[in-house]
Symmetry: C2
């Protein structure tokens, strides 16, 4: 299982945003949408052994479960509609219980730290960072959780948390990438078993 | 210089499409838009040594020139607006002369073959294909032109043309990727000098 946690600092926490202005009033939700499609789409298939957690303004986390996804399309707008659908169910998310808003899409009342708490016991937490170990020198773990930020850097408190929790800090290349491109490269790295052979 | 040619089989050739329906009535223009942003965006910079040619239904080619781009944003909708702006100038594109519709974006009356004709003399044409040589076994060329197709496979005539013209047929991993993800991986491959070191 490969997992990606993407922190959306300016992301909406209510469903009253316009699908026509994802890069503006919707708090750069376009970035998170592209992370979702980068995580799941192959040319003629969905990566079903993948899970994505979008942390929305440290308040809610929307999780996409590859094996259950039914209505995901590759464009930003339709992915944003799935996130909006999850936010329409936010009042039903009580405690840490998830609410499924469409097949494979669920929302929980969880911020960044509680999302990491729930993921870390049985996985390898990888902080993608431009000062990390070059990925070519890092043996691919079997159950990685890659943690990324949207168009902003991680906030100081998030950085401190990651310094404490992450098993590794890894960079994917010499040039800092957008989060969605980092997801694509991380997948390719694992697909090719660290590029050693395939 | 890195170049990408992306063939949009169903892409519009007139500007009368809606930015709200890129994945539908606009002939999957969303795919081409994501290829453009994958080609140019780094975290805090534009890849200025990059050029992208979108072949629209074998009729027009819209070229994005990294060193001149001024109004590119990472979301699909704003990129589609730049393509629409280019198509609004299509009547001014006479012969093979380009018309610049916004800084770094130009349109030419060229289909797939004439676009390849114009590119191939001084470059290395790389056909990205799932049956190609694994990229790890392929020495990165200095001036590559990567040729990709949108959500459709190349048509038989296009495949024949590529068989004749391409210098190499290369695959980027064991799993077939969407075109925009292939652009991201190709860049990362070149960034890391074939993953040997960085």
């Amino acid at each position: 299982m490969r997992q990606f946690v993407v922190v959306g600092h300016d992301a909406p926490t209510t469903p009253d945003f316009a699908l026509d202005d994802l890069a503006g009033a919707a708090g750069r939700l376009d970035v998170l949408c592209r992370c979702v499609t980068s995580a799941f789409f192959l040319s003629h298939a969905i990566r079903d052994e993948t899970r994505v957690h979008l942390v929305l303004a440290d308040s809610f986390t929307v999780t996409f479960e590859g094996s259950d996804l039914r209505r995901l399309n590759p464009d930003e707008r339709s992915t944003a509609a799935l996130i909006r659908g999850a936010l329409e169910r936010r009042e039903d998310a009580i405690g840490h219980q998830p609410v499924e808003s469409s097949p494979g899409v669920s929302i929980r009342r969880r911020g960044f730290e509680t999302t990491l708490d729930a993921l870390t016991p049985a996985t390898t937490l990888v902080h993608l960072h431009e000062d990390g170990t070059p990925v070519v020198d890092y043996d691919p773990p079997s159950d990685p959780v890659f943690v990324l930020s949207d168009h902003h850097d991680f906030a100081p408190a998030e950085t401190d948390l990651l310094a404490d929790r992450a098993d590794a800090r890894v960079r994917l290349g010499p040039k800092p990438l957008h989060a969605d491109h980092a997801v694509t490269v991380a997948h390719n790295y694992l697909d090719t078993d660290g590029f050693r052979s395939y």
